[in-house]
């Protein structure tokens, strides 16, 4: 059975209502919406707190450790320990753990929407889709940059004051030191932003976080196992190594120059966001 009736010409009444305002979807509105989403989840604060505690906590612990080793030298003597000692980098080691916390948060702000179904509401409101990705990246990028700067500066200043008890501290005005300090903050921000793009491409929290861990920790190990000629051509260009180039005070022949490291990180960002944009635009939500 298939009946159909000719649609009677019902005049469409014009609905005039100002209850919902007259605003359009603009980039500024989308950024505001993403900011509301970001700050209204408890998990945001837990993860950010974890990043702060990890970064500053490790700085304090490792600097007290250094003081102890200098004051109570083992058999090789304090000079041996101090040979390669760089007080700036020593106080910033917490970035290793902080990058994980920021990375997890970056993955979660996207994949949390997919796992809960929120993404359908988000994309219904912003059906062109890409503004949502840029909005998330902008909000998360600013938060990560500010938080990283605060963490890294605090770690550095607290760390140096601890190290000053044995007179091995340095200052921000020493050559290269401010580059290392702010380079570390920049690296943390880049890892966070890369994670947002990873989350957008993978859409699944476990998969996104596993990929992040793989890129940061497993791939460098695998590359270590390659033949030397291959290894030397690949290893310096990995994200973690490019980051090290930016965060290392002394020139290291196995690393890129800080400038080149920065360019490599920028290339990763561009590539990841191109991939994320293509996936977001093409795949059904």
């Amino acid at each position: 059975m298939s009946t159909s009736i000719a649609p009677s010409p019902t005049p469409a009444p014009v609905l005039i209502s100002t209850r919902a305002g007259t605003g359009k979807v603009t980039m500024a509105h989308v950024v505001n919406a993403e900011w509301i989403k970001f700050r209204t989840l408890r998990s945001t604060y837990f993860t950010l707190l974890a990043a702060v505690v990890a970064d500053i906590g490790i700085a304090i612990a490792s600097c007290y450790g250094a003081v102890d080793r200098i004051q109570h030298p083992r058999h090789e003597g304090p000079q041996h320990f101090l040979q390669d000692f760089s007080p700036a980098e020593w106080s910033l080691q917490g970035y290793n753990l902080a990058q994980l916390a920021l990375g997890v948060l970056g993955v979660l702000i996207v994949t949390g929407e997919y796992s809960t179904g929120m993404i359908r509401a988000s994309l219904s409101a912003v059906p062109r889709r890409l503004p949502m990705l840029w909005g998330k990246a902008a909000v998360f990028g600013v938060v990560a940059a500010v938080l990283s700067c605060v963490c890294v500066l605090t770690s550095f200043l607290v760390g140096q004051s601890i190290l000053s008890t044995v007179h091995v501290q340095t200052t921000l005005s020493a050559p290269g030191v401010s580059r290392v300090v702010f380079g570390t903050a920049l690296y943390l921000t880049v890892i966070g932003l890369l994670s947002v793009a990873l989350g957008t491409m993978i859409r699944n929290a476990a998969g996104g976080i596993a990929t992040l861990l793989g890129v940061l920790f497993i791939v460098p190990l695998l590359v270590e196992g390659l033949p030397t000629t291959w290894h030397d051509h690949i290893a310096p260009y990995l994200p973690s190594a490019a980051g090290s180039a930016v965060m290392t005070l002394k020139q290291d022949p196995t690393l890129l120059s800080p400038g080149t490291g920065l360019i490599v990180l920028a290339c990763y960002l561009v590539a990841a966001y191109v991939g994320a944009a293509v996936v977001l635009k093409r795949r059904d939500a």
Binding site: M1, S2, T3, S4, I5, P7, T10, A12, P13, V14, L15, S17, R19, A20, G21, T22, G23, K24, V25, T26, H29, V30, N32, A33, E34, I36, K37, T40, L41, R42, S43, G112, E113, T116, G117, M118, I119, R120, A121, S122, L123, S124, A125, V126, P127, R128, R282, D284, A285
Partner: protein, 315 residues
């Protein structure tokens, strides 16, 4: 106004929606009906641009959904119950959606009151019951005060009071001149709220009809007659052309008459002085008629599959 033209969605070898064309007019509630898995949700997702059609297209108020400058003010949709982050409160959820269109806070408060979620608006949506989740979904749909409202199975999980509320809401939205498309797998529910029906099965259009027409075509049941003079009445009725009478083995007083209206049976009995205890027109329920319709679609598929298997050479 919603217009779908040749909408088709394939997932690999499976076709979820096939060459679906229909239009939904403003000012009435249109029911979008089909059994589970018929392709209703997929179609609605294509209307909103969440899924890209394999072919065909859909326009809302003359444009594709994504091409509107303020989509939430054109179309408000509730797809599946939960499109809400479980860790966020209802209020903040609506606030974030509103922010994309600079919809004022006052409107957020308004829709919260409209759906009756004031008490729980500040609580995490993860703890919401199914009914509260549905209400929040409807609040999201109405946020932009849209001219077109699309709701996927809105009565799912609602208590009788909630169902009544939805019915009245849908009718009032339509009476304001809005286009209202509501999906359901319950024919009986649609019979109470919708004026027009689009019925699909296995991704294909089965019927595009008014509810009145559908009801009429579904009501061709017989008339139940209970009389102590059943033998005599059966004889009289059986003599009439195009009338068939069935007797009931377990109840000698009971007759089922087809081809004659109850008025005619009553008059005939009166003319011959026969006593009637009961005279009840039997209507095939809408639910049965709907199942009959969609069963056809299912059977059609079932017939095709074995013949395909026969034709294919054994591997």
């Amino acid at each position: 106004m919603i217009e779908a033209v040749g909408l088709t969605k394939r997932y690999g070898p499976k076709t979820a929606v096939q060459d679906l064309s229909f239009s939904v007019r403003p000012g009435i509630v249109t029911g979008f009906l089909g059994p589970n898995g018929a392709g209703k949700s997929t179609t609605m997702r294509m209307l909103l641009g969440l899924d890209t059609p394999s072919s065909g297209h859909a326009v809302v108020n003359g444009r594709r959904y994504a091409e509107h400058a303020a989509p939430l003010r054109e179309v408000g949709a509730m797809l599946e119950a939960r499109a809400i982050h479980t860790g966020r409160s209802a209020y903040n959820h609506l606030l974030a959606l509103a922010a994309t269109h600079a919809i004022p806070r006052s409107r957020v408060e308004e829709v919260i009151d409209l759906v009756g979620l004031r008490e729980v608006a500040r609580r995490r949506a993860g703890g919401f019951s199914l009914g509260m989740g549905q209400r929040l979904g409807i609040a999201s749909a109405l946020l932009g005060d849209p001219a077109t409202v699309i709701l996927d199975e809105p009565v799912n999980g609602l208590d009788p009071e909630g169902i009544l509320w939805i019915r009245n809401l849908l009718k009032s939205l339509a009476s304001e001149g809005r286009t209202v498309l509501v999906s359901s797998h319950l024919m009986s529910e649609m019979a109470l709220t919708a004026e027009h029906l689009i019925v699909i099965g296995r991704g294909k259009l089965i019927a595009d009809t008014s509810v009145a027409d559908f009801t009429r075509s579904a009501s061709q049941g017989g008339v139940l007659v209970r009389t102590p003079d059943s033998v005599r009445l059966a004889e009289l009725l059986g003599a009439l052309p195009e009338v068939t009478v069935r007797t009931d083995d377990s109840d000698v007083q009971l007759l089922t008459v087809e081809g004659a209206q109850s008025e005619r049976i009553g008059r005939l009995a009166a003319e011959h002085g026969l006593v009637l205890f009961e005279l009840t027109p039997q209507q095939a329920s809408l639910e049965e008629a709907f199942m009959e319709l969609t069963r056809d679609a299912v059977e059609y598929e079932a017939v095709v599959t074995p013949s395909k298997l026969v034709k294919e050479p054994a591997a």
